[in-house]
């Protein structure tokens, strides 16, 4: 580690941006992301859309079924399906 990196490539910037949406990015990562956004138009666009997506998802309060619950539902349903086709 000879030099501290201030500039990161777009891939890394997007990765940090994704992490930020789940509040998992560190402060240092967010600083680097913001430096990147100063000069990169495409990543700015991506970050904007990404934040909007998070907001929309939060607003909608969508719910979905738990994976385990779905599995048990499938098992029950397959049983019923078998009975149905046997008739």
């Amino acid at each position: 580690m000879s030099k501290i990196k201030f500039f990161i490539p777009c891939d890394d910037a997007n990765h940090v941006c994704d992490k930020t949406q789940y509040k998992e990015a560190t402060l240092w990562e967010m600083i680097k992301l913001n430096i990147h956004l100063l000069y990169c138009k495409f990543c700015r666009e991506y970050t904007k859309n990404n934040a909007k997506l998070t907001k929309v998802l939060k607003k909608s309060e969508v719910e979905c079924l738990d994976k385990k619950c779905k599995e048990s539902m499938k098992l029950d349903f397959e049983k019923a399906l078998k009975e149905h086709s046997d008739q």
């Binding site: 997506l53 929309v56 909608s60 969508v62 719910e63 979905c64 994976k67 029950d76 149905h84």
Partner: protein, 184 residues
């Protein structure tokens, strides 16, 4: 007119989340919603021969689900309605100090319009999720909607963390594209 096919084997993968979301906005109890969805699938299976192929499978299942939800409310009402004591806040009795707050509309309460918009948005999101490849949709749902930790998802699906982030990235890009037209 296109004739729709029926294929119950794929129902749960394709429609369970959509139906669940539809139910949860109407009964607001997770377990009851799960049961209703399950009942709907079973009822659909039983009356499969009545499916004429005029509507899509999903529309047909939703129409069954609607009946199930109505039945559910009928059932709880008949049990509860008998024992219920109704309190009216603005009777003419001379009791002083009735809580005025209870008569005023709560501005923080959701209006009907909000709820409607939200359930439409929910449908749009589920439509978009349906367009994603299965793995992407699974990871995205677990991470974003159910809010699991990265590690938990990695263990469950047997993938590495960097793998997960790549999947999330693709899913987010696709979702943003899909929702862009109407909801951004």
């Amino acid at each position: 007119m296109p004739n729709h096919q029926i294929n119950p084997k794929k129902w749960i993968d394709l429609y369970s989340d959509y139906l669940y979301n539809y139910t949860i906005t109407r009964v607001s109890d997770r377990e009851i919603a799960q049961d209703l969805v399950q009942d709907t699938f079973l009822a659909g299976l039983k009356s499969m021969k009545n499916f004429k192929g005029e509507a899509s499978e999903r529309t047909w299942l939703i129409s069954i689900l609607k009946r199930k939800i109505i039945d559910h409310y009928r059932k709880i009402n008949s049990n509860k309605g008998k024992a219920e004591v109704r309190i009216s806040y603005n009777d003419d009795s001379e009791t002083e100090g009735d809580w005025l707050e209870e008569r005023v509309a709560d501005p923080f309460d959701k209006t009907a319009e909000d709820t409607m918009q939200n359930s439409e948005l929910g449908n749009a999101i589920h439509n978009c999720l349906g367009k994603l490849p299965e793995k992407q949709a699974d990871v995205f749902k677990m991470k974003t909607i159910q809010g699991f930790e990265t590690e938990v998802i990695c263990n469950e699906l047997n993938i590495t963390a960097s793998n997960l982030w790549v999947i999330i990235h693709r899913a987010r890009t696709a979702m943003a594209d899909c929702l862009k037209e109407n909801w951004f």
